[in-house]
């Protein structure tokens, strides 16, 4: 337990430092950091409404953050959560288009979200297969696949999947059967619960099962894992595929619960923020949830901050960037310190 808490220290420190830097930035632009942060906090946790909003914003970050955590744990760098998320949303949109109102709601949701997960998994599997079969660096492959996915969405929403009547480059609104139910009068939806469930499953899988153990061992030291008889390549492949499924699910849920339509700028870069989320969450599923909530709160609060304090919402990107920088620096520093003996 003490170790668990000790592991939180770098994350908390990174957040504190990042907030300090952004406070300085706010101050330099001539506003009061105090007022700005008060507005940010107000916007994030000031009311039940805003709390629900934080959860909603955190939802895709939890799932893509899990995707990142899972693949990084296996020692592979899936930078492709963005593309996998888009393909997931695309798969769900396509299933909804075909299924229409013929299927009853629970089945429609299972089919749609299943398709989303499968789409993301498939997109990730391409990169994993390229890596294992051809030795293609997965970072490059996944980044390329991100571009391809974006282009694919762009083409489809302007062509085959464009809404009936064809005014905007977007798909038809999902039939109501494919829409995730709300949990409260706010925008809180069932997808948030699904994301939390996914985190619990991932946590259990990683730390309580044999496959999870093998995956972590393979990620930390492939040579030793292989000598212990662990099928390193196979673990790696499935970690990657599962990672893609999480990201795909994120896309499906967002489409189903929030936007209901797929369009070109569907994702504001969740798949990239996910990397910060995963690292800040120290690659642990529970940590990812906490980190996602933090980023969700920043996102939700930034609008209020812009409105009431007059400080540009862009400041939160300073926080994003600084968090990663400080985490990397702290990690380095910690490693150097522990190398005494």
């Amino acid at each position: 337990m003490r170790q668990r808490i000790a592991e939180l220290v770098p994350s908390l420190l990174a957040v504190a430092l990042a907030l300090a830097v952004s406070a300085a930035v706010v101050w330099l632009t001539g506003s009061s950091p105090l007022v700005a942060f008060a507005a940010l906090l107000e916007g994030a946790v000031g009311s039940r409404d805003s709390l629900a909003e934080v959860a909603v914003k955190a939802c895709p970050l939890i799932l893509t953050g899990l995707a990142v955590a899972l693949s990084f744990r296996a020692g592979t760098w899936n930078i492709g959560a963005e593309g996998q998320l888009l393909v997931g949303a695309l798969a769900m949109a396509a299933v909804a288009q075909v299924g229409g109102s013929m299927v009853p709601r629970p089945l429609a949701l299972v089919l749609g979200l299943g398709a989303a997960a499968a789409g993301g998994a498939l997109w990730a599997a391409i990169a994993a297969a390229l890596k294992l079969r051809r030795g293609v660096n997965e970072v490059i492959a996944t980044i390329m696949l991100n571009f391809i996915a974006a282009a694919l969405v762009s083409y489809l929403v302007q062509g085959p999947l464009m809404e009936q009547g064809g005014r905007y480059p977007q798909t038809d609104a999902l039939p109501p059967e494919f829409v995730l139910p709300r949990l409260a009068p706010y925008r809180l939806h069932l997808g948030v619960a699904l994301a939390l469930l996914a985190a619990l499953v991932a946590q259990f899988g990683l730390f309580r099962t044999r496959h999870g153990f093998e995956l972590r061992a393979a990620g930390l030291n492939a040579v030793a894992a292989r000598l212990a008889g662990i099928p390193v390549e196979r673990r790696l492949f499935w970690a990657f595929v599962l990672s893609g499924a999480f990201a795909g699910l994120a896309g499906g849920i967002e489409l189903s619960a929030i936007t209901r339509r797929l369009y070109e700028r569907f994702s504001p870069g969740w798949g990239y923020t996910a990397i910060a989320v995963g690292l800040l969450g120290r690659l642990s599923p529970i940590g990812v949830v906490l980190a996602a909530l933090f980023f969700g709160a920043l996102d939700a609060g930034s609008n209020t901050m812009q409105r009431t304090a007059g400080v540009s919402a862009v400041v939160v990107y300073v926080v994003h960037g600084c968090v990663i920088l400080f985490l990397a620096a702290l990690e380095r520093w910690q490693r150097n310190r522990s190398q005494g003996t």
Binding site: T209, R210, N221, A224, L227, G229, G340
Partner: protein
């Protein structure tokens, strides 16, 4: 132009050797509750090799790190030529001509040999240095020291340990005009490399430097040292001067209790367990391919494979571990031919592995002690319940029993394996492998870097495994390992296995078989 230090050498040589060149007074250092050094007083004279010996954890490295400016003492002084000096950083040490070769390498693996040397070869105030100029300086120093260097453009990560160490030594030598510290340098070296190193150290001594030589191998200390200091639990417990006659006394001072001589009981040989028939492997850029290697190992015996490192040991281990499929030849396990494509198949066939590099191949250092006990296919399977769920409770009590049974000293089961000393890491690996009840145990360099007590433990454990009916393959470059444990011995030389020798083994015959190298290519 040869960089640095030549003047410094001659000035120290001119000085009389009566007064100590370097001395420490009342040095203490604590790490939390551990008292690593307790009021240590020592004098080191120029022109002498001063050996510091002691078991793992005795505080040797800590003392050296203080001298090298990498660690600061809680109290006490360091005196250089009678003057107290401030050693607040490695730069201070460098300025004073003190340099250290670390026990664990401190090279950048992905960079090349030249790149690793570049920084050291650059003098203060020098901003640019061409690749060619560096190469020339490396050449100069290699010649001045007589060290054989690997190809300058090869990445350090791909070099053998011996070659990597030569690089480290060269790097330290360039800086060490007064004091050269070698922290357990022979732990990773072959006998030949050790001889080369000793010759070099003797030459350096005659230049008037202080050479601090850390070891726990008494025979080496006897061959090399002018003075010996024994550390135990942070205190100086004994001194000795050359010639060293009673090594036994030193061993007892080191361990703190009387040492009983131990020798392996004779083998009760059973049926054939493992046979290699004309096994050859593909050549790759580094290392030596096996050429038609054949041997048989029977239950209950230890088959020792001696040889100088780099003669195919790594390849042989990899074949026996199932990570390197032979190009030709057959592997028989208890009468069945196997052609493993992964370690899993061999593990299932009853093979246990003690890998050559325990930190890299034997353990996942970041994982806990408990998790490392599970790092074996068979053991994992044993603690897997339905739905693939691991039974941590059972696993924990299993690990606890092993810790006790094999006296692995661990802070607790949840601390990272990295926090264990080398000896305890090896105990962990041995415990894990033996508890999986292998019929064939392949142990490569099992005592590398281990101290006296830990080495004895490894000997007893391996002999015990054989007595319990395992066929033990012992691959080692350490002749003491081979001679202590083996029931039969063969020598690996340039990928070929010599005829089998049976005890009593004439070390000279063994040496002759191993040393075709002296005329050949030493890499």
């Amino acid at each position: 132009m040869p960089p640095a230090s030549d003047d410094a050498v001659s000035s120290t040589r001119a000085r009389a050797t009566e007064a100590p060149l370097l001395a420490v007074r009342g040095i203490s250092k604590r790490y939390g509750r551990v008292c690593a050094l307790d009021r240590v007083d020592l004098d080191f004279h120029g022109g002498e090799v001063h050996a510091i010996i002691g078991e793992n954890g005795a505080g040797k490295t800590t003392l050296m790190r203080i001298l090298a400016g990498e660690e600061t003492a809680d109290s006490g002084d360091v005196l250089l030529e009678g003057q107290a000096v401030a050693l607040r950083s490695p730069n201070d040490a460098r300025r004073l001509g003190i340099a250290m070769v670390h026990q664990h390498f401190a090279l950048a693996d992905s960079m090349t040999v030249v790149e690793n040397l570049a920084l050291t070869l650059t003098q203060p105030g020098e901003w640019r240095l061409s690749r060619k100029a560096i190469a020339e300086r490396v050449e100069h120093w290699a010649q001045a020291t007589g060290l054989q260097l690997p190809p300058l453009a090869s990445p350090v990560g791909e070099l053998s340990v011996g070659a990597r160490q030569r690089l480290e030594i060269l790097r330290a030598l360039i800086r060490a005009s007064r004091v050269l510290i070698l922290d357990e340098p022979t732990a990773v070296l072959t006998p030949q490399e050790t001889e080369q190193l000793f010759a070099l150290v003797r030459r350096l001594r005659s230049d008037g430097r202080v050479v601090l030589f850390i070891s726990h191998k008494l025979a080496e200390v006897r061959d090399l040292a002018d003075r010996v200091t024994v550390l135990r639990q942070g205190r100086v417990v004994a001194h000795a001067k050359a010639p060293l006659t009673d090594l036994h006394e030193l061993a007892e001072a080191m361990v703190g209790e009387p040492q009983v001589e131990w020798s392996k009981p004779p083998a009760q040989v059973g049926e054939e367990c493992l046979r290699l028939d004309g096994v050859s492997t593909d050549a790759d850029a580094f290392g030596t391919p096996l050429r038609s290697v054949s041997f048989t190992v029977r239950a209950g015996e230890v088959f020792g494979i001696a040889g100088v490192d780099g003669n195919g040991q790594q390849e042989l281990f990899e074949v026996l571990a199932g990570v390197r499929p032979p190009k030709s030849g057959t592997l028989w396990i208890r009468g069945k031919s196997v052609s493993p494509r992964s370690p899993a198949e061999l593990l299932d066939a009853g093979v246990g592995l003690v890998p050559p590099d325990r930190r890299r191949e034997g353990l996942v250092l970041e994982m806990s002690v408990l998790e490392n006990f599970l790092l074996h296919r068979g053991t994992l399977r044993r603690f897997t319940r339905s739905w693939g769920i691991l039974d941590w409770l059972q696993a924990r009590s299993y690990a606890r029993t092993l810790v006790e049974h094999y006296s692995v000293r661990v802070p607790d089961l949840d601390s990272a394996a990295a926090t264990l000393s080398g000896g305890n890491q090896q105990r962990l690996i041995l415990a894990r492998e033996l508890e999986a009840r292998p019929q064939i145990l392949v142990a490569a360099h099992p005592t590398r870097g281990l101290d006296f007590a830990a080495t004895q433990f490894v000997y007893r454990t391996l002999a015990g495994a054989a007595q319990n009916g395992a066929a033990v393959v012992l691959i080692s470059t350490d002749l003491e390992d081979i001679l202590t444990l083996s029931d039969r011995v063969a020598v690996l030389y340039r990928g070929q296995l010599s005829p089998t020798l049976i005890p009593p083994i004439d070390p000279l015959r063994l040496g002759a078989l191993m040393s075709g190298l002296e005329q050949g290519t030493a890499i």
